[in-house]
Structure formats: C-alpha cells, structure tokens
C-alpha cells in the first residue's frame, strides 16, 4: 500500500482548502502568483485556459492563483475568466474538468509564499504535472503550456526550465554570474537557473515543499533558484524548453539589490548544504534541450554606461573597509587599480575571483551575510559595464562566445573556491 502523505496545509486558508477539496484530484495544475497584475492577468489566464483546452483536453486541470493582497481587482479578474468563454472563443471543449481558484496568501507580496501555496495545492490535488507562469509574461502563447508541461506529463522529466530569446543586455546577472557559477558548481548547463516560468513533477514539488526551510527569510526570498538547486541536488531529471522572446523589462537600478538577495544570496546559501555535491564536480555538460539554448536580439538599447562606471568607482572607493573583510588584499588592490581608470576592463578572471571570494566570505560569515550581498552590487555594476563595452558591437555569436568563455573561467577557477572555502580566515 502506498503511503499517503498530505501537505502541511496549516498555512492555507479554510476557504482555499474547501475549494481544493471540492476539486478532488487533477492531472495538470497551472499556478499563477500575482500582486496587482490587473493589466495582464486576464489575458494570461485566458491563454492558459486556451492552452489547456488545446493540448490537454482529456486531462483534469486546475488553475491556481496565489495572490499577495492585490488592490486592483486581480483576483476578481481571475475568478471571472470563465471556462465557458474560453471554450466559445477557442471552439475547443474540455472532456474533463477545468477549475480556476484564487486565494490570497497574505497582505503583501512574497514570491516564496506564493510558490509554497501553489506547491501545497499541487500536493493536495495530487497533480502529476504542474507549471508556474509569471503574471508579467505578456508574450505567453498557448504553446507554452505544452512546451513546459509535456516533458513532465509524458516524458517523465521532473523539472522543465525555460530558455528565451532575449536582448543581449537583458539578464546580465544571469549571464555573468548565476548561469556560469551554477554550471561550474553543479556541472549542468542550465541557462535560466532562476526561472519565473517552469514546470515540475508532483514528486519534485512535494519533496521541495517538505524540505525547503520556509521559515527562513533567505530560503523564502530565493525560492525560485532554490527550487532548481533542489532538483539538481536530488538528481531529478531536468530539461530546458525554448519559450520564445522574453520582453525587455525596464527596471530601475534600485532593483539590483533585491535581485541579488533573491538569487545570489540563495545560491551562496545553498553551497553549504550541497558541499558534498559540488566539491568533487569538474567540467560541465549540456542538459536535454528543446529548441535553441539561447537566442540574442541585437536592437539598440539606451543604457547609462557613465552611471554604471561611476557607481562602480564610487563603490570601490567608499566600501574599502567592507571589502577588506571580504576580499583578499590582491583582489582588492586590483579592483582599486581598475576603479581609478577612466575606461576600465573588469576581466573575467578578476570577476570570477571576486565572486568566489564573496561566496567564501558568505560561508564564513565574515560580516553580516546580507551586507556581503549588498556589497556585491557596485562590483556587479563594474562587471556589467565591461560586458556592455565588450559586446557593444558584437554579433549574437560574439555575445554567446563571451558568455561561454566566462563559464569556462568559472570552471577553471573552481579549485580556487575550494582552496579558500575552508582555508583563509
């Protein structure tokens, strides 16, 4: 007899639990975390419904909206997206049930809690294949549903991560730190380790739900990347699927520190529990990928390079006392040297050395860990500036070559990380 283990549903509201019990069991579950997404959520839910009708008409399905206290009617829009309208529009009809449930998990947005709610719902409904769709993905098409869910539902993959066609300067933190470092550490060429869209099996979802320390602020903040790392650590079957163009999102510079906390902080904190997994790995290999691993678009983009350069130079000068606790004297001296130059190059080798020394400092908690992450921001701006300069006139292939060279540098210098991990105090 199979052991039946239900999710810890204590954090779910009674009303939400009642609705889930009414649904029963499903084959497919699509989760949409939201917070004030009234402008986009209607179209996204309609596309998801149409995708399910088109590609999974014989499966029992549910759309779960986990909302962080929207005040613009987002939840009402999800609730009003009736399946009958979708059937009329698409002229496709489901043979089984398609439910749409919205719940509010809190009064302020918290991505980790939203993901936890979706995972708990998936476990309670015993969903075989689940997907999470970002409420900002306005370029979503019905094909996304099959591209993401089919490998889990039919090919027994446990995690499907997206790849996109992006602007060459979009996602610089991904291309210059998260992708190369994850690849060097765990030996898998995962292009988007921090994925706002993904699909996963019920067993991976349940395992992550049970093991992730949800009470920990860092674990909650970086739950997306923690999810990928949990799949790697658990040696689940992972693949990538190309979803098409990811629109350039205009972000203010102030977004950088929260982005670093959510991603780099989570990556650094995962190094301790996974030490036995990554310390012996050398090199890397590709994972199964449907479509291209990455495409770059080259249209012109106005970027304030002067500001990036200025913030790097100021940061290196002003944070000297902080860097003395984190970086080795030689790395700090090199950084101070290039920060004084008008047109500097933050080389791949120096960048990798910097990142690894930050990771070791985070492990040893030389100062407050959040301060370590914050101190990385000005240095990242310096690296971003160099990336812009080096790839300013390059073709898509040149950009890809540069990223590949950086990845190889991360792999080449991995012994340095191991050396300082337990070595220098």
């Amino acid at each position: 007899m199979t052991e039946v283990r239900l999710a810890d549903e204590s954090f779910l509201t009674d009303d939400f639990l009642r609705q889930l019990i009414n649904v029963g069991e499903v084959d497919i579950l699509v989760g949409v975390p939201t917070h004030n997404n009234a402008k986009t959520i209607g179209a996204i839910v309609e596309t998801v419904q149409a995708g399910i009708l088109k590609f999974f008409p014989r499966e029992r399905a549910a759309i779960i909206n986990a909302d962080g206290g929207s005040r613009d009617g987002t939840r009402e829009l999800v609730a009003s997206a009736a399946i009958d309208d979708a059937q009329r529009r698409s002229k496709l009809y489901t043979l089984r049930t398609l439910h749409s449930i919205s719940t509010q998990y809190g009064s302020s947005p918290a991505r980790g809690t939203a993901l936890r709610t979706i995972l708990a719902a998936a476990e309670l409904l015993r969903a075989k294949a689940c997907s999470v769709i970002s409420p900002e993905s306005t370029q979503i098409t019905t094909d996304w549903l099959t591209t993401l869910l089919r490998p889990v539902y039919s090919e027994e993959f446990d995690l499907v991560l997206p790849t996109y066609s992006r602007h060459r300067f979009d996602g610089i933190l991904l291309t210059n730190l998260l992708y190369p470092m994850t690849r060097a550490l765990y030996g898998l060429e995962i292009r988007e380790p921090y994925a706002l869209e993904c699909a996963f099996s019920g067993r991976l979802g349940s395992q992550f739900l049970a093991q992730n320390p949800w009470h920990d602020e860092t674990a909650r903040a970086g739950s997306e990347i923690q999810f990928t790392l949990a799949a790697i650590a658990g040696q689940y079957r992972i693949c990538q699927s190309f979803l098409g163009t990811k629109e350039h999102v205009d972000r203010r510079a102030a977004d950088l520190v929260p982005a670093l906390r959510q991603t780099v902080g989570a990556l650094f904190s995962s190094l301790e529990p996974n030490f036995s997994l990554w310390n012996a790995k050398t090199g890397s290999h590709p994972i199964p990928t449907t479509g291209p691993a990455r495409e770059f678009t080259l249209e012109p983009l106005r970027v304030n390079r002067k500001r990036l350069r200025g913030m790097f130079s100021t940061g290196v000068a002003e944070l000297e006392s902080v860097f003395q606790s984190i970086l080795s004297p030689s790395t700090l001296a090199e950084l101070q040297q290039i920060a004084r130059l008008e047109d500097f190059r933050y080389s791949a080798e120096l960048w990798v050395k910097t990142v690894y020394e930050f990771a070791a400092a985070y492990h040893k908690s030389v100062i407050n860990r959040d301060h370590i992450i914050q101190a990385l921001a000005p240095l990242f701006r310096g690296r971003a500036y160099t990336f812009l300069v080096e790839n300013g006139n390059g073709s898509a292939a040149d950009v890809e070559d540069n990223i590949e060279a950086l990845c190889l540098e991360f792999e080449r210098m991995k012994p340095y990380l191991l050396e300082i991990w337990n070595g220098r105090e």
């Binding site: 991904l174 106005r302 990036l308 100021t314 902080v322």
Partner: protein
Amino acid sequence: MREMIVTELTQAMQELSRGFAHILPRIIVWAIIAFVGWVVAYGLRVFLRSILRLIKFDKLAENAGASQLLTRAALPSATELVSRFAFWVAWLGFILLGVSVLGIVGLQGQIARFFLFLPRLFVALFIMFFGLLGASFLSRAALLAAVNANLPSPRLLSVSIRTIIIIFVLSMVFEEVGVAEQTMLVAFGIVLGALMLGLAIAFGAGGKDLAQQFLEKRLVHGKKDEPKEDELSPL
C-alpha cells in the same frame, strides 16, 4: 627605673605577641581565601577563554569595531581581555572577601560598596559592547544603502551615524557607572544639538538645490520630463 622599662617592654612584647597570635589565624584564613580565589579565578579565566573562542567572540568584537580599538591601544585580543578582566574581578573579589575576615574597621563599608558596584560595571560593559556592535552594524548598513542608492558622501553619512550612536552609548555607560552623570548628560545634549543644527544649516545652505529637487520630485508630479534611459534588467 630600669625595671619599669623592662616590665613595660615585656608587657608590650606580650601584647604584641597576643595581638599577632590573635590576627595570625585570620591572616592565614585570608591567605587561604586568596589562594582558593586565585585557583577559582584562574579556572574561570580558562573556562571563559574556551567559551569565548568557541563562540568566536573575537570575530564578534571585530564586527563591533572593538578589535581595531584594542589593536590601536596595543591591548590583547577581545577574548583575552575579557577573560583576564574576569580573572582579576574574581580574584579581587576573593581578596576583599578575605580582607573582610581580618575585621579591619572602615574597610567593611568600602568592600560592600565595591561588591554593589560590580553589577553596574558589568551592565556598563554589556551596554558598551552591544552599543559598539550596533554602531558598527548600522553604520555599515547605512554605508551600503547610500552607495547602492548613489547618494552623495556615503562615508560621511556612515561615520555620522556611527559617531551619534557611540556618543549615545558612552553617555549611557557613564550614567550606568555613575561617572559625571550630569556633565555627560549636558555634554551629550550639546553635542547632539550642535550636530543637528549643523546638519540643518549644511542641508539648508549647501544643499538647497538638492532639497528643492527632492521636494519637487516628491510633491510635484509630472512637472519635468526628464530624458528616460533604460536600466539594465539584471534577471
């Protein structure tokens, strides 16, 4: 006459011997107490040093900025200093306890006052340590936030925050140990008042354009159409 002197001397010697015989056991008791105290204090020092090393107290002191102060003053590490301090306080306590056994009139009150002062001294040291820790943490947090927000003079902001907190902590410490309470209170008020006035004048006179921009940005929406440049999306 001669006999009288001899008698007096003999009497004095006998009294001295009696007095010495009377106090000798007390001195021996005092010496035993002092010796036992030394053993206990030494044990306490070793124990405390091990505990502090175990909890990485030196790193904590470094974070608090206390280590730098100690190095500049050519003092040993924070762990060594605290364990030595505990040793001397404990041994001195035992010595004074032994002195009270001697029954010297006038010293009893002083010894009692010393023991009453000890808790206040410990509280003051506690305030001092955590105050320095807080000052270091908050000044670094302010420095990082200011650098990442691209604010002018981040280090000045950080040092100002650190200085204000340290002044505040010192005033609390002096008040706790009862040293120049009134003077410290007045001095603290004057320093803080002067600092605030200075900042207000500096902001008003030197940064009026900045203040104007700030207020316009906050209160007047859509007044100026600034040229918009893309920021890189990190993710």
